[in-house]
């Protein structure tokens, strides 16, 4: 085996990408060999193989991220000859490595969680084999330097993800979610394959660097169509609008560890594909048409999914819709085409893996302990599962964008980048995008208030009287993620310097990607410009002074409302007698027209009246009932309908690409 390296870097580092991928696939093979018995050995194999790939990826960070090397590796030593790269290559630049880090970290954490979580399930050997194959395909996808190899990895990923979605076959809806994922997902896979075929017919190569070298000059309707096919293919793997119903069905029924991988990592691989496609291969993100379209797709996914989440009664289904909503943020930021926007998108992608992983694992813990995910049947678990509740709160605060957690920092960056883009381009679409993003953030907070209320607050139901918090083994992975939430939230500057800036610079610099394969100067010969390094300063999200202003503003607002409202919200009503209490509450709420409000202000009559999650925002939902009932009908659950949306998206993108590119 031989390696070719950009510059002089040599030694073992050049082999790290392939070993990181092989470690996971080898682990899958060994797990299958171990068989049903010997659970400890099996866990050992899973632990070691996922740890090895994580360590190898971390070891690649100093040379690739800090020193700017690009590691290329040719399978079987088939190096490119005279600008023709026929062999299959792995190419790890900072962008690939950034996503590889997300993949391996999430895989390791979810594996740790799986050990206690899946302990009661039958056929653990199948679970771990599929799990490691899924992990290997994800890592192979982001590290691959070959388009067809990416397709193969996508197929392994889809197949194993479907199998794992249906792993708990007897769980209600597991098979249904899996088959919908399979059928609608196959549209995406076919689209990628057709895109590859068209591209090969035009350029006779599948190597990403060679494609990047030759695509800008080979612009034709055929390559535009290939772009549309590949974009829809990767978009469907990221579950972007209109593929989002799929995600909701699949996430909600999969085991929690798999939900974390599907939502945290598989969607990120779709995002990676879109970034690679638009920034490195076609280099067309600077075109206003592409930029506007991608941003708009992101913003629409973001808004529609958050409103759908608002309406859900299943804990994990709600989280699933939120996860696509957050991916919408990422795509909206990535689509801006600015260096800062890309940084913001990457940061949010990373943060989403962390906090959504945490939330899914917390939901899994609730399901493990209480046996249900139905928001209308849960309640009062904060007293029974205080540790899980604390972890859930950290995740919920992070996804809602509350400081000091990581969601705040990345959403702040996204708003700033959209704002700058709107100002710079003067395009009203970006103002709309900004408004949609802000609205979605508010709705995210609202729906997490709803989840917290209906799962953790209120009186504890009698059937959960004997409930115990989950074991420490299950909480350790959650604590890892919660700690990451806080660390990345407190030090966004450091994260930006170490990870985001190199990754965004690599995405914006296709010339280096090409030169790493074909030698220095190749890209310059083909007139592919070196990217100018942009550096911007954040509008001080971690400046203490702005925090103080925020605190003062909020305090003033609260005081203002309390003075104007004139209602003694903080006072408790001392009444022993039921009749007395009723009178007191009547006096207290004399101005309120509807007794339905009483439970909101603890004036409830029944001892066990829990404000259900679906009641919390009933006024809002009632005012927008037309929209909500329309959306309900639209997400019909029929696989034919979802297929139609997918095909419509494909047709739309084809028309768009051929007309606008």
């Amino acid at each position: 085996m031989m390696e070719m390296i950009y510059g002089q870097i040599g030694g073992a580092v050049a082999h790290f990408p392939i070993f990181a991928v092989i470690s996971l696939f080898l682990g899958a093979f060994l797990t299958a060999l171990v068989g049903k018995r010997r659970a400890l050995l099996r866990r050992g194999i899973v632990f070691v193989s996922s740890l090895v790939s994580l360590v190898l990826v971390i070891l690649m960070i100093p040379p690739v991220m800090s020193e700017g090397w690009i590691i290329t590796y040719w399978m079987g030593g088939w190096e490119p000859v005279g600008q023709w790269a026929i062999g299959i290559g792995l190419e790890a630049d900072a962008l690939s490595l950034f996503f590889a880090l997300i993949v391996t970290a999430a895989v390791f954490t979810a594996a740790l969680y799986s050990f206690p979580y899946m302990a009661q399930d039958s056929q653990p050997e199948n679970y771990y084999t599929l799990y490691l194959m899924l992990a290997g395909s994800l890592l192979g996808l982001v590290l691959s330097g070959d388009l067809f190899n990416i397709f193969v990895m996508i197929e392994i990923m889809t197949m194993t993800a479907v199998a794992l979605t249906a792993f708990r076959v007897d769980y209600d809806g597991a098979l249904e979610g899996a088959i919908k994922y399979m059928i609608v997902g196959s549209i995406g896979s076919s689209a990628v394959l057709v895109g590859i075929a068209i591209l090969y017919s035009q350029l006779h190569t599948l190597n990403l660097a060679q494609l990047a070298l030759r695509l800008p000059e080979a612009n034709s309707p055929a390559t535009a169509a290939a772009f549309a096919f590949l974009f829809v293919g990767f978009g469907s793997k990221a579950f972007l609008f209109p593929f989002h119903p799929l995600a909701a069905d699949a996430h909600a029924v999969a085991p929690a560890s798999i939900s974390m991988i599907i939502s945290g990592v598989i969607t990120k691989c779709g995002v990676y594909g879109i970034i690679r496609l638009c920034y490195v291969l076609w280099q067309n993100m600077s075109l206003p048409a592409v930029s506007t379209a991608v941003t708009l797709i992101g913003a629409v996914s973001c808004f529609i999914c958050v409103t759908m989440a608002f309406n859900q009664h299943n804990f994990k289904r709600l989280l699933a819709f939120h996860s696509i909503s957050q991916i919408g943020y990422v795509i909206a930021a990535v689509g801006l085409g600015s260096f800062f926007g890309l940084e913001a998108g990457l940061f949010h992608a990373m943060n989403h893996t962390i906090f959504k992983g945490l939330l899914f694992l917390a939901a899994g813990a609730v399901q493990h302990a209480a046996g249900t995910l139905d928001l209308d049947r849960l309640g009062g678990l904060a007293r029974k599962m205080p540790r899980t509740f604390l972890l859930f709160l950290i995740g919920a605060a992070a996804i809602s964008g509350l400081p000091p957690f990581n969601g705040f920092a990345s959403k702040w960056m996204i708003y700033q980048s959209v704002f700058e883009k709107a100002e710079e381009s003067g395009n009203p679409v970006f103002i709309l995008v900004l408004v949609l993003c802000l609205l979605s953030s508010v709705l995210t907070l609202a729906s997490f208030v709803k989840v917290t209320q209906s799962v953790f607050f209120g009186p504890c139901r009698p059937e959960y009287a004997e409930l115990r918090d989950v074991s420490a083994a299950m909480r350790v992975p959650m604590w890892i993620l919660a700690t990451l939430c806080v660390i990345t939230g407190l030090f966004p500057g450091a994260v930006r310097n170490i990870l985001l800036a190199p990754a965004a610079a690599a995405a914006g610099n296709p010339a280096a990607y090409i030169d790493a394969v074909f030698g220095v100067g190749t890209a310059a010969g083909a007139h592919i410009p070196e990217a100018a390094k942009a550096s911007e300063t954040l509008i001080g999200c971690w400046e203490p002074l702005s925090w103080l202003w925020l605190l003062l503003t909020v305090t003033c607002a609260v005081c203002f409302v309390m003075v104007l409202g004139g209602r003694p919200f903080g006072r408790t009503v001392q009444a022993d007698d039921a009749e007395e209490r009723r009178q007191a509450s009547e006096k207290l709420f004399a101005g309120l027209p509807d007794p339905k409000y009483e439970s909101f202000f603890s004036g409830e009559k029944a001892e066990f009246s829990h404000v259900g999650g679906s009641d919390l925002f009933w006024g809002f939902k009632y005012s927008l009932r037309r929209y909500f009932s329309y959306m309900r009908r639209w997400h019909s659950g029929n696989v034919n309908d979802y297929t139609r949306y997918g095909i419509a998206a494909l047709a739309f993108m084809l028309a768009f690409a051929v007309l606008c590119l």
Partner: protein
């Protein structure tokens, strides 16, 4: 002559997608997935076709500047893609068998507990 391959390939893909979007029976949807996949395979293998080319099988020494053969890469791709297609079909059918046991129907209109 090669044009008809391209037309047929896209016709097959369109037919497969149509099948998936319109047919209610899950088995027929699975067949539609297969047809779309065959269309893609036909497209790839047509892409590498050269009129009058021989099969791209040579031993060392046989290969000269004058040899004229079809592009071997798309054939390798097609082979891979056929294998993947077979896996997809097998996987879908196995899911359909379990679905039939559980839901008692193959009608996609009735398999919609997850919605809204």
């Amino acid at each position: 002559m090669i044009l008809i391959n391209y037309i047929a390939a896209f016709a097959l893909i369109a037919l497969g997608f149509y099948c998936m979007a319109v047919k209610k029976n899950l088995i027929k949807i699975c067949i539609g997935m297969g047809i779309a996949d065959y269309g893609a395979n036909l497209l790839i293998v047509s892409v590498g076709f050269h009129d009058g080319g021989t099969a791209p099988i040579f031993t060392i020494g046989e290969l000269t500047r004058a040899s004229f053969f079809v592009d071997p890469v798309p054939q390798a791709l097609t082979l891979t893609s056929i294998v993947i297609g077979a896996c997809t079909t097998a996987m879908t059918l196995s899911l359909i068998i379990r679905l039939k046991e559980k839901y008692g129907t193959l009608n996609s209109d009735e398999i919609r507990r997850l919605r809204g």
